[in-house]
């Protein structure tokens, strides 16, 4: 598999001399993966692909707008590319997508690979990339239905319990904005949290400000989050951000019958509407 990735990337880079290949290489712990940018075809031997390639590399395409880039993507990451194309952020023609059929990733940390899959992979539906120029691996059948047992557990709590649960979780937030920086859907020129006038959130770390920051972040990604789970992975204090994102995913699937990033053409729910929708339906 890795040979196919290397060969395809090399072929492409030889044809696009000013281009760049974004893939995975071995991290400094000698066991997990990290992103790598390759500018020279002979360096392609650095590329790896294994169960520690958790990063969503499509985010980097935003930094490379206007240049030619090849990128290695897993199925979840590929949906990010569709999202960005749909939102007019990327030019499909300038990117070469090496889509990899995903075996599921293992939970890994620096210097340590766990024996169990990442939680996002346990619940993953799509094992074949939604968009690609070259597909590596045999297309795999989709998992039939969503498993929202994690969301259901929170829904099953009382209102007070939910309030307390999220207060505790968001209370840990140190406002490092790692979740935002890693997120493919977060590319605003000026994030609402950085705006001074009006001051929506500001720099204070207090329960109220942490609350509005985390809600604002999640809701800006409603019907846009492609479930790559990167926000949760990078959070240095372990806030279960996907648990919030997945509620929105579940609701927008119910209300609008929409799954973000599955193609680049379908109008997202907040860009369209159905006149006949009744308020009861959305209530």
């Amino acid at each position: 598999m890795i040979e196919i990735i290397r060969n395809k990337a090399k072929e492409w880079l030889e044809k696009n001399e000013d281009g760049c290949v974004i893939g995975y290489e071995r991290a400094s712990d000698g066991m997990t993966a990290r992103p790598v940018f390759i500018y020279e075809p002979h360096m392609m031997g650095k590329l790896i692909f294994d169960e520690t390639c958790v990063h969503n590399l499509s985010k980097y395409l935003l930094n490379r707008r206007g240049t030619r880039t090849a990128v290695v993507v897993k199925p979840c990451d590929s949906r990010g590319i569709n999202l960005l194309i749909n939102e007019h952020q990327l030019d499909r023609d300038s990117i070469y997508i090496i889509g990899v059929v995903c075996p599921g990733m293992k939970e890994s940390h620096f210097g340590r690979i766990e024996d169990h899959p990442l939680s996002k992979c346990r619940r993953c539906l799509h094992h074949t990339p939604a968009v690609y120029d070259v597909l590596v691996g045999e297309p795999q059948p989709e998992t039939a239905s969503h498993d929202y047992s994690d969301v259901a557990r929170i829904e099953g709590m009382s209102l007070q319990e939910r309030n307390a649960f999220w207060k505790e979780q968001f209370g840990r937030c140190i406002r490092c904005y790692g979740c935002r920086q890693i997120c493919i859907g977060c590319y605003c020129q000026e994030c609402f949290v950085d705006e001074l006038d009006p001051l929506w959130v500001g720099i204070r770390s207090c329960p109220e400000d942490n609350w509005i920051w985390n809600i604002g972040r999640a809701f800006h990604l409603s019907a846009r989050c492609i479930s790559c789970g990167e926000c949760e992975r990078v959070c240095p204090v372990g806030i279960p951000l996907m648990l919030a994102n997945r509620k929105l995913e579940k609701e927008s699937a119910d209300l609008f019958d929409f799954e973000p990033g599955m193609d680049a053409a379908t109008a997202p729910p907040f860009a369209t509407f159905i006149k006949e929708e009744t308020l009861e339906k959305v209530e």
């Binding site: 939910r162 999220w166 109220e208 809701f219 509620k247």
Partner: protein, 135 residues
């Protein structure tokens, strides 16, 4: 002596229908509770979900978003978008521990002064029954 709880409602009213409706309620001397503080917006579609969340953060007990009836939007489709946004925000806030009954979306036309006062009255009643928000 019993302390009465007076909930605070922030009302985002669209300029063309609901604000005019509220105005009509006023000029025709229809009573409605003074619990609502009205913010006039050009269209209910202008109401960024952040406005709503910010109102709650700053201590609102309830938020009312009111716009033209579907089909009557001055800008033709602003209220359809609002319906979707509020429709998704309500279950989300509920999930985070903020009762969805504290966020209401209502259609009030310029001629529905009476309806406006009824909406505010019933919302205030609901909020009084629910009591103050747990912090």
């Amino acid at each position: 002596m019993e302390l009465t709880y007076e909930p605070r409602i922030v009302g985002f009213l669209c300029n063309w229908c609901s604000y005019a409706g509220a105005d009509l309620a006023g000029t025709s001397r229809t009573n409605y509770p003074a619990n609502i503080r009205i913010i006039r917006v050009p269209c209910s579609g202008r109401v960024d979900p952040l406005f709503i969340v910010k109102a709650f953060q700053l201590g609102a007990d309830g938020v009312l978003v009111a716009g033209c009836h579907p089909g009557d939007c001055h800008y033709s489709d602003g209220n359809y978008h609002t319906r979707r946004r509020v429709g998704l925000l309500r279950p989300f806030l509920d999930y985070l521990g903020l009762d969805k009954a504290r966020l209401r979306l209502e259609w009030v036309s310029a001629s529905e002064g009476k309806r406006f006062s009824e909406v505010v009255l019933s919302f205030t009643d609901t909020l009084i029954k629910m009591g103050p928000r747990s912090s």
